[in-house]
């Protein structure tokens, strides 16, 4: 490609190699080099193409960088992955934090989904088990994925889940229902001004399984 592009049309101004190197020497105010004009252009093209390819890659690198940044700072309310409960976790019984639970469905998701309890009181450091109810209201098997979010986002690094249905995809057969457990604890170092946490889950249809869901709209109406 370089050769084709740098094949400058020679009729316009075609100085000899000597002339060019003399000019380049003056222009760049550097010691004169034996450098042909096309070589100088080729060098610029190659350097800039590296930048172009690098920046194209950087656009994609922003995807993991963004996740890393969110994980490190706990911004965006993203809760971490599965953790193991430390053996020596001190329970701070002087404080009680209210944890509220929310459930929502992405617009096309034909499931019923809600928490079995609306909220619990928990001491920091104390493990707590709650559960969510889910039912597939359709006549088709659907794969779902729950995405958690915690508010306030700045408290997200202190909220740890040891067990959660959001770690894996949930496959529900036609009409299947179940209670899905979540086990969590709150880090006792959580800032003093945080008294209420809200944990919410949104169930999405797994990308690729939309076809099954769209078939269900009719069947749902027929049921009614």
């Amino acid at each position: 490609m370089d050769i084709a592009l740098t094949g400058t049309v020679p009729q316009l101004y075609n100085p000899s190699a000597g002339e060019i190197s003399e000019r380049l020497g003056t222009i760049m105010s550097a010691p004169p080099k034996q450098n042909h004009g096309n070589d100088a252009n080729k060098k610029v093209i190659i350097q800039l193409m590296f930048v172009v390819v690098g920046m194209f890659g950087f656009g994609f690198a922003l995807v993991p960088l963004y996740d890393v940044f969110c994980d490190l700072t706990g911004l965006n309310g993203k809760t971490g992955g599965q953790v193991v409960m430390p053996a020596e976790m001190k329970v701070d019984s002087s404080r009680e934090i209210t944890v509220e639970f929310m459930a929502s469905l992405n617009e096309t998701m034909p499931w019923s989904f809600y928490p079995d309890v609306k909220s619990v009181q928990v001491h920091p450091g104390q493990p707590m088990k709650i559960s969510y109810y889910v039912k597939n209201d359709t006549n088709n098997e659907i794969v779902g994925q729950a995405i958690p979010s915690l508010a306030p986002g700045l408290a997200a690094p202190y909220f740890h889940k040891t067990e959660c249905f959001c770690f894996t995809e949930q496959i529900l057969k036609a009409g299947e229902e179940k209670h899905m457990p979540v086990v969590f604890f709150i880090d006792p170092t959580i800032p003093k001004d945080v008294n209420v946490l809200t944990l919410s889950y949104t169930f999405f249809i797994k990308p690729g399984s939309e076809a099954a869901a769209s078939l269900t709209d009719n069947s749902k109406h027929q049921d009614l």
Partner: protein
């Protein structure tokens, strides 16, 4: 092709004839002319869409277009004006002027130059085809706004989104090649003695703009590629169901988008910095501070992108950082405005059309800059965001900023391009009609925005009616005034019943481009001039 080349060796000023002259052109002037005409045509297409939008908004309720069509009109108006008008016009001006200003024979990579131009009609053919199909009832054209936020453009994008994606890829390739060409030309083809700090400011601003293009156009290509794979290949970059995040789209898009707004203004800064000294008959005040200010703006443009996203739920620390960084940009921009005003101070001013447009640029761009500062304040932005205040802000910087800069440049250089003086009285009519109507058009939008009228909605509450009617009247006067510009350009190019231009053209003009005869010969400097 080789036969043509041989011929050129023999007759230095021979021009190829017929359609081949344009299709296979490797001449910087012919390619510059094609870029400028392409941009001019797109300006009228994008403007026509804007007039339909303004006609719809003349009164509350739905008059001419359905809301679905309205969304397509705003989207295509934005895309055409940004990528089809401002950017190609700047590349056209760079093609014409950069080689002449630095004493080069042509662009460094003439064949690539041809390719960069000829990708554009293809790219915009695709984009406009989606609108044509929409008008014929074959599905919607892109309807998600020029910022094409996910999931509007991914999960909910119409089928024509793929036309849009491919079109953006092609115009991105075109811009990147254009930028590489300009950098190679400036680095390798300057005349002996033309050191970097002796380059005209227009060359400097384009040099920096070209680096911005190379840095961010690939990111734009990346983000539309992610959209494409999200739409068709089962990835989930922006889809929360698969672990992605729609807010990620905004981060990647604005990482491109903010430097892009400086891509659309820096060359205009350069044009103004050529015109003001010429008509003040003084050297530019603070040359080196102009260069450093331009570089600082370019650098800062990379660390302010999230000021477009203050209401996405960023933590306070992030909002403060982006607020302060954004306000910092006012400093180098203020240096530039100060330098332009100081150049005029105690100069022997004369007010030909280019100078009128340059002064209007300085004044109106500064108004746009001030509203930018207001928007930069996070708490205030919570009120202003997504209202007509934002629309007023970016039209002040893009129309009375970037576009006025381009018009000033065309009036300034067209005598050099064609060898003929343009019609001064028509130029002055064009100027006064434009500058008055543009304020009638955009100034009321500030009040509409502050009163809470949202962007991108075809209908509005009754209390907004009067200001909207003013804006619509201004829009039609502005739009039709541009026909005077078109007529003047054609009249000048045809050269009948107009004055011939001298080589220097303007009394106060300085620089290598004014040492060439008017019209500039087909090949610029066949032997490099010596710069003292």
């Amino acid at each position: 092709m080789s036969a043509v080349i041989e011929e050129h060796h023999d007759h230095h000023d021979h021009k190829p004839t017929g359609i081949g002259r344009w299709l296979f052109s490797t001449n910087h002037k012919d390619i510059g002319t094609m870029y400028l005409w392409f941009s001019f045509i797109m300006f009228f297409i994008g403007g026509a869409l804007a007039l339909v939008i303004r006609a719809e908004l003349f009164q509350p309720g739905l008059q001419f277009v359905e809301p679905e069509m309205f969304n397509q009109l705003t989207t295509l108006h934005g895309l055409i004006m940004v990528f089809g008008v401002i950017m190609p016009a700047f590349v056209g001006l760079a093609n014409w002027m950069v080689p002449m200003m630095i004493g080069a024979p042509d662009m460094a990579l003439p064949r690539m130059n041809n390719w960069s131009f000829w990708l554009l009609p293809g790219a915009f053919g695709l984009l406009l085809a989606s609108l044509a199909m929409s008008l014929m009832g074959m599905g919607s054209a892109p309807n998600f706004g020029w910022t094409f936020y996910a999931p509007l453009s991914t999960t909910f994008g119409p089928a024509s989104t793929d036309y849009f994606i491919f079109s953006v890829h092609m115009m991105g390739i075109s811009s990147i090649m254009g930028a590489i060409n300009i950098i190679a030309t400036i680095m390798n083809l300057r005349a002996p003695g033309m050191t970097y700090m002796k380059m005209p400011i227009f060359v400097w601003t384009w040099f920096i703009t070209a680096y911005l293009l190379i840095a961010v156009m690939p990111v734009l290509a990346g983000v539309v590629t992610m959209m494409l794979t999200d739409r068709h290949f089962g990835t989930s970059f922006f889809n929360a169901a698969g672990g992605g995040d729609p807010v990620l789209f905004q981060h990647v898009f604005w990482f491109f988008g903010h430097p892009e707004v400086y891509i659309m203004i820096l060359p205009s800064f350069g044009i103004i910095s050529q015109i003001v000294p010429t008509f003040a008959r003084k050297k530019i005040f603070g040359y080196s501070s102009m260069v450093y200010a331009t570089s600082s703006i370019a650098f800062l443009s990379f660390i302010v992108w999230a000021h477009h996203m203050f209401t996405t739920g960023m933590p306070v620390a992030g909002e403060l950082f982006f607020m302060y960084a954004t306000m910092l940009i006012a400093v180098p921009t203020g240096v530039k405005v100060f330098n332009w005003v100081s150049t005029m101070w105690k100069g022997s001013l004369s007010f030909e059309t280019p100078m009128l447009f340059a002064i209007a640029f300085i004044f109106l761009f500064t108004i746009g800059g001030f509203t930018g500062l207001m928007l930069a304040m996070t708490p205030a932005d919570f009120q202003y965001q997504d209202t007509y205040f934002v629309v007023a802000h970016f039209h002040y910087v893009l129309v009375s900023g970037a576009a006025f800069g381009i018009m000033a440049g065309v009036y300034f250089w067209i005598p050099k391009w064609t060898g003929n003086m343009y019609d001064e009285s028509l130029g002055i009519w064009h100027f006064w009609l434009s500058v008055i109507s543009i304020n009638v058009l955009f100034f009321p939008m500030h009040f509409l925005g502050l009163a809470g009228m949202p962007r991108r909605i075809p209908d509005y509450s009754l209390q907004f009616t009067e200001f909207n009617q003013m804006a619509t009247v201004g829009a039609f006067v502005f739009g039709f005034s541009q026909l005077i510009f078109l007529y003047n350009v054609i009249k000048t190019a045809r050269g009948k019943s107009v004055e011939k231009a001298t080589s220097q053209v303007w009394e106060g003009a300085e620089g290598l481009e004014w040492t060439l005869p008017s019209p500039a010969p087909f090949h610029s400097f066949t032997t490099p001039p010596q710069v003292k």
